[in-house]
Symmetry: C2
Subunit: 124 residues, 2 copies
């Protein structure tokens, strides 16, 4: 079983190109998508492709980092909508044929740091 | 070069035990910590250990998943403070001796899902 790096690269390339046939081809039929921040879950390839296809906005994807091992991978991406850029971290699990069986997304938002640690940190 | 799984397990075990000597022993002297959500950065082992040692709260760590490859790893942890639980995703980079040279943390917060996708999702 090879690591999942190229699968994750293809996943984001297909999403960025709105190539939903290529995107669907990477997914197991019973893929489960989970969004822990909203406690939402989507079950099945057809629904998950529809969710992505219908996702609003002229978003573009840039991969910042992928960490991969056999059966598991994580991507850190930058998602740009016009001049606004957000970051997303996505955990992937695949079956023995390399098809994606689970996708779990996190969308961390900017926040102001708490007071008291200024002597240790710099802002960038 | 071995993968970083055991290093990351030791990192969180040391943090959870407040064993700052063990924690420091996993870090390169010039380790850089980055928090993209606040745009904060901490440079150097001494400052980074101080930041963690002084971090307030009686927090406990539970590892949800680690994905590792040579030189890179990612952890997804649950951090509990009393009954409150938050999730964190942390990217690690190490040098050829396996010492951690870069740590990048994300702390995603819960949010309400946007309307319009109820037919595709279930809440859990």
């Amino acid at each position: 079983m090879t690591d999942l790096r190229s699968t994750v690269e293809s996943y984001w390339a297909a999403a960025d190109a709105r190539d939903w046939d290529a995107f669907a081809g990477l997914l197991a039929e019973d893929v489960v998508y989970t969004l822990p921040q909203t406690r939402e879950r989507i079950s099945g390839r057809e629904r998950y492709v529809a969710f992505n296809r219908e996702y609003p906005g002229d978003w573009r994807v840039r991969i910042e980092r992928i960490v991969a091992e056999p059966g598991h991978a994580v991507s850190w991406i930058l998602l740009a909508v016009g001049l606004e850029e957000t970051q997303a971290i996505t955990f992937f699990t695949a079956d023995e044929d390399g098809r994606i069986t689970a996708v779990t997304d996190f969308w961390p938002e900017p926040y102001e740091p708490p007071a008291g640690r200024e002597r240790l940190v710099e802002r960038y």
